[in-house]
Symmetry: C2
Subunit: 405 residues, 2 copies
């Protein structure tokens, strides 16, 4: 691989390893894991589905399938996406081995060593790992509570001597920032990109996990707008609506982009597990998804509410945060002179872990935030976790005051 | 991706698409598919295993796992490989999403655009697709019935102005040639590579599928020899001993190679499906593999014997072939003035498909062979298939004689 052998080791690759370790730490209270808790998976539903498969379909589970995906799943996904307001039209779906593989395929399709790509800051660390591994030059644009900062984006594009290959964004229940883009910001973003030739990658792993039915419309994808001046590749995942262990994702793109992506996928793993695709298809076809989502939404809402309540009760007033309207994350803001990494060191020794802010900064510098994930947190541990974390923060704040005075 | 965007379209990528189509052609008798027949999969055994999983393990099926692989499966694989004579020692196993992903990872780890790699001729077409997609300059070395031609290999290495990054071989029940390397040839190969710094990739997808227990020792891996002067990366697959639909493979390599490979894998799909890894692990741990292999060996032996018998009965005398001692393939040799592609055109119109010889030539030229796979062929169709194929061959031979006279 041209990029890999030349690139310096990906810092974010180390961060991800660290993250996995933290998330699975046995005796720790972990706000680190950006995944569902083991107790939330639809185990019984899948049991039932698996045992109801006909012998002929079961045999297909063991066999190769087309590189583009198991055709019945492609069809079910089309319906699923159309219900979300996406217009399939001439676009095509490629099933991928997790949505990270979709990001990887897109990167390999468009990015040569040293090419520029744009990301949000903060940015999903898994994507950063991919971009770094394949040697992209990453330029990041700050986000606020309504989405990417349009003025900063415009200035960035103007200041570059080469056209970025794409802009990667996660507009719905952002990882790590927890925000959702406002409709106005989405519109401004599309207007800004129109005519620039910069592809928009719209990564949408969390849109089904809104807390309030009335706010569902806010999750509508930018790719829903039909034909427009911006080439959009939409990526989605089964990791949050079925389980990351399935390694199932997909991308929806123009036929031209799809065809090259299919060729890249053929050279990566030939096809995605038929077994996993068939179970996921049955999950959709047998209408198991909606009831499961209803269950998940209420579970995550409850966890989010508990976390909010305890944060309000225990956090020192110097710490602020957003209240997410869906997804997995709360993004705490520290006073600017305090580093998240300092808090981490204090907190881990007391038995609580989370992910430091700089993990999500492409430059691995900006460190005044910390990500708390409530998705993987047992409800009865949230209060204890917040108490310990707030004590760790208070300790670091106190130390900093002593230094300052 | 540097290589992909610059490379001409991979011819072999198109071949693979064609191959998949042929293999699954509904009303065709297909000798094309290099996969087990749907009726041979261990469906009942997996049913039993799945339903015997504890609730805690089932939950793990849905969750992320380490990039390197589900630790119990890594352990089971170590035992499995040690039983085959491999010495794990300081080597490490990386679980991959099919063994094609292992080949892809190794290529991305070592090959920059334009770097030289060596393959056999003929060569497994899936690997050729990977090598071409990532922009390798492929040089191929002929094989005979005992393995790679050592003199040709030496001449090739001497003639090159740059050191090849690796040599890719499939010594056991070669795809497509059906041969197994002799112990002498393996020894000569290792002696030839010793000290050259050329890595050897030993792809071993078929070694469990010998027809004669007494010949099992011939399948012993070159990597079994312990520490030696040649760096060997050994790759294996569950596709032939469980099912390709699981997308499960692995690579065994030095720790240094493993660590970089793990980083590449993290940027490809984060980890392989936990669900598939857990089922495969139970298959090994609960000793389901050996009885299943005994069943497979007898099934494939029976198909091979039938194919041999009908080839002897129906083929014109100008056509010759090897009798394989394991695996999936018979590699027919045509008179040199006849092209496999001509036979294909004649044969497909009569309802029989196979894979043309040039599909396996990195240069897509050499076309005096054709691959018959018996693994995916229902026993009761073999005779009819051979009759039709031999008629097609006779027709082409007759036409060529008319042209010559």
């Amino acid at each position: 691989m041209y990029a890999f052998s030349k690139a310096v080791n990906s810092m974010h690759s180390e961060d991800v390893k660290q993250l996995m370790k933290q998330a699975s730490g046995k005796n720790l209270i972990s706000f680190a894991g950006g995944m569902p808790n083991n107790d939330l998976f639809p185990v019984e539903q899948i049991d039932e589905l698996y045992n109801s498969l006909s012998p002929e379909i079961k045999k297909l589970c063991f066999q190769y399938g087309p590189t583009s995906g198991y055709p019945p799943l492609v069809k079910s996904l089309e319906s699923y996406l159309e219900k979300k307001g996406l217009i399939i039209g001439d676009n095509k779906i490629l099933i991928t081995t997790g949505s990270l593989q979709a990001i990887s395929i897109i990167t390999q399709e468009f990015v040569n060593e040293g090419d520029i790509i744009l990301t949000e800051n903060p940015c999903f660390v898994g994507a950063l790992t991919v971009f770094e591994t394949f040697g992209a030059e990453i330029h990041s644009i700050p986000i606020d509570k309504h989405g990417i900062n349009i003025e900063a984006l415009k200035s960035k594009i103007e200041s570059l001597d080469r056209k970025p290959k794409f802009l990667y964004v996660t507009p719905n229940y952002h990882n790590p920032a927890g925000i959702i883009y406002s409709p106005e910001r989405k519109k401004e973003l599309l207007e800004t990109l129109a005519g620039t030739g910069i592809i928009l990658i719209e990564d949408d792993a969390y849109s089904d996990l809104y807390f309030n039915e009335e706010e569902k419309s806010l999750t509508k994808a930018m790719k829903s707008n039909g034909v427009q001046d911006v080439e959009i590749i939409y990526t989605g995942s089964f990791s949050k609506i079925l389980g990351p262990g399935f390694r199932l994702g997909y991308m929806l793109s123009s036929e031209e982009i799809f065809e090259k992506a299919e060729t890249v996928k053929q050279a990566l793993d030939a096809c995605t597990s038929s077994f996993m695709q068939i179970l996921a298809n049955e999950f959709l076809v047998q209408n198991k998804l909606e009831p499961y989502l209803t269950f998940l939404r209420s579970e995550y809402l409850e966890r989010k509410d508990l976390l909010q309540q305890y944060l309000k009760t225990y956090m020192p007033e110097e710490v602020t945060w957003n209240e997410p309207k869906g997804g997995f994350y709360v993004w705490l803001k520290l006073p600017s002179h305090i580093k998240s990494t300092e808090i981490f060191n204090e907190s881990v020794s007391r038995g609580v872990v989370f992910v430091t802010g700089r993990t999500f900064d492409p430059a691995s510098e900006k460190d005044d935030r910390l990500r708390l994930s409530f998705s993987n947190m047992p409800k009865d541990q949230i209060e204890k976790g917040v108490i310990i974390l707030s004590e760790a923060i208070k300790k670091v704040l106190q130390n900093s005051k002593m230094v300052l005075s």
